[in-house]
Symmetry: C2
Subunit: 383 residues, 2 copies
């Protein structure tokens, strides 16, 4: 990240004047966070209120930290309207650990087959790990079109006796997103990797068996994942799977089976509160996310083919706007000149190329405005 310094504004009502060196950071993850949250963390760094120490320095069993953890959980429950039928757990190891934990808990020894929908890079990785734990079918694979779309409901025929049906709701690299849950038989738990669109919109949690997200895209720093799991599924696992992978250990001990990543949970809780209190909750956040993403997609669509979106239009992501320019030289020039306008971390993933603008909840409208202006200007100068 090399963009130069100018004052920026955040969307947070609480934030004071922005730090003069901060840029608009379009990183796909770890990603931009609400500046007001960073300021709170900064203020409390040496002394968390009442602790006489940093939140990093106190025991995870200290009531002050236990309250932080419970508050993070209850704020997430409130945002997503999660009922008591579901456990909400905090774990380490990112989405990658979940790629193994999910089949270890729900597939190994079940005598059933798991059904995977593969719509991008993260789904592919999940399939690879699942195959180590049991029988896996590819219910859908979008590889032939270079993962530029998600299936329509009619493309899916999940058997009634599947161990579970798995999909990734938003593929960060490709910038494709399911607009709603794929059809899944009532008898089959629906499992979602929501890492890169968690908390970007309301979700009907009751449709899911398990939904998880690493925090570092839309919900906090790297090092913590949120796992939302229907409680009846907790009982399914063979107790001989590796202990850290066993969801029931985490559920039964309120995410303190072992020392949790205390600082990451503390920041995650602050981001959730910011979303509820400053942004007004998930309905409002979705509306803002639609406006922000539409602004960039409009620039793409009105560029007379100068910008070419990677995702098909009906499954464009609210979070990751992916597009290509006419040549690699122009792509490099775009990234370089964007940096001079304090627009940072726009390079696309090597497997897709081009540009990826990640505009998670914490990306302020001003950042999207600035990028849209820059894109229009760049296209008119270089067409």
């Amino acid at each position: 990240m090399t963009a130069s310094a100018q004052g920026v504004q955040t969307t947070s009502a609480k934030s004071s004047a922005s730090h003069p060196e901060r840029v608009f950071n379009f990183s796909a993850g770890p990603a931009t966070m609400p500046e007001s949250v960073l300021r709170e963390v900064q203020d409390e760094m040496l002394c968390y209120p009442g602790a006489g120490a940093s939140i990093m320095e106190i025991s995870h069993r200290d009531k002050l930290f236990v309250d932080v953890l419970h508050d993070a959980e209850s704020t997430i429950r409130e945002l997503l309207k999660i009922s008591d039928d579901y456990s909400v757990m905090f774990m380490q190891g990112g989405a990658t650990l979940q790629f193994s934990a999910i089949p270890a808990n729900l597939l190994r020894g079940s005598g059933k087959r798991a059904q995977y929908i593969q719509t991008g890079s993260w789904g592919k990785k999940a399939v690879k790990e699942a195959k180590k734990e049991g029988d896996v079918d590819l219910l859908y694979d979008a590889a032939e079109s270079n993962y530029d779309h998600v299936p329509s409901a009619s493309d899916l025929a999940c058997p009634d006796d599947a161990a579970y049906m798995y999909y990734c709701s938003n593929e960060t690299i490709q910038g494709v997103q399911f607009q709603s849950e794929p059809n899944c038989p009532d008898s089959v738990p629906l499992v979602s990797d929501a890492s890169s669109d968690f908390l970007c919109r309301p979700l009907p949690i009751e449709k899911y068996g398990l939904l998880y997200a690493c925090a570092q895209k839309n919900a906090g720093p790297a090092g913590v994942s949120v796992v939302i799991m229907r409680k009846d599924l907790l009982e399914k696992a063979d107790p001989n799977i590796p202990g850290y992978l066993h969801f029931k250990n985490h559920h039964d001990n309120d995410s303190e089976w072992n020392t949790p990543p205390t600082f990451a949970i503390y920041v995650l809780g602050k981001v959730a509160r910011w979303l509820r209190d400053d942004m007004g909750g998930l309905e409002k956040m979705e509306s803002i996310n639609r406006e922000k993403s539409q602004q960039l997609y409009s620039v793409i669509d009105s560029s007379n083919g100068f910008y070419r979106g990677h995702a098909q239009t009906d499954c464009r992501s609210l979070m990751n706007v992916t597009f290509n320019l006419p040549s690699d030289d122009l792509t490099a020039k775009f990234i370089s000149e964007a940096g001079e306008h304090k627009l940072a971390a726009l390079k696309g993933h090597r497997s897709v190329g081009g540009i990826r603008a990640s505009i998670y909840n914490a990306m302020p409208r001003e950042g999207v405005n600035a990028l849209a202006s820059f894109m229009n200007d760049f296209a008119s100068k270089n067409s």
Copy 2:
């Protein structure tokens, strides 16, 4: 943690005046950290130099973060004089994940038996997980004396063909520490859980096959573990073990097989630098740790039996000083009155009871002085 506020001093030459609300924090982990490190983290919270963003907000692939990771690794290599025969990896999941990862990599499918030395609570947990992965022998078990000692070399007879020999160098809960490595045949990899005494003294790394530590006791915040592994052992694992547990994935990708816990690694690196630059390295740190712990053990030994140390004298820990008082009432009174003197988090673990004073590297001498004075005073008033 409820102790009240007064000015304190850290041992760091760099630190400015201490925050007035900070207490002396004897938590066993997460634990006290160098105040100068917390101040640096605070200063950089909104903008890591050159990033235009917090270190939490930038990609783990960004050169700025990759440099942070490499610097943390090289500082640890320098402190412990680790040769290129060893990999140094950063992982998530704490020691608990290692309890499974180690036997998954080195025992599963090996046709061998693993030999475990059980000298406290953490060793017991490790044994439980290892048994899920293969055949385990208890080479030594100190349960009968309530884990108040470690074996002498003559108590151990590890077979030459063991998969590995495992021990926990410092049992945090019981406060017992190996004074040097247990005898281990050359043909057998020695594996150590050094979570609670990592970086407290120099170590002959060449004696180890694998040594690991979660950071949150002596090396940083919760959420990252350091794994030091002889490179030839990386090749031993069945590739079908869960990917996150497979050390080779982490080694081959320079601890970026998946998104690492970036903020935790950043803080860990700062703690390592503090240890090298401000404290003068591990020889000096060990000398200070010996002085600090001896000061408290002297109070115990000269208290005419008022304080009774848990650990036998020849295996007392430099890090966790555990002792009992004549009654539970006096223990409660001790903890309460200590809190009034800004001496916090002294309650012993429920399995041992009494008091535990964890005096990791970052506990300043002033904190130990204050605790020793308080102990003498409390004993004279209550004997």
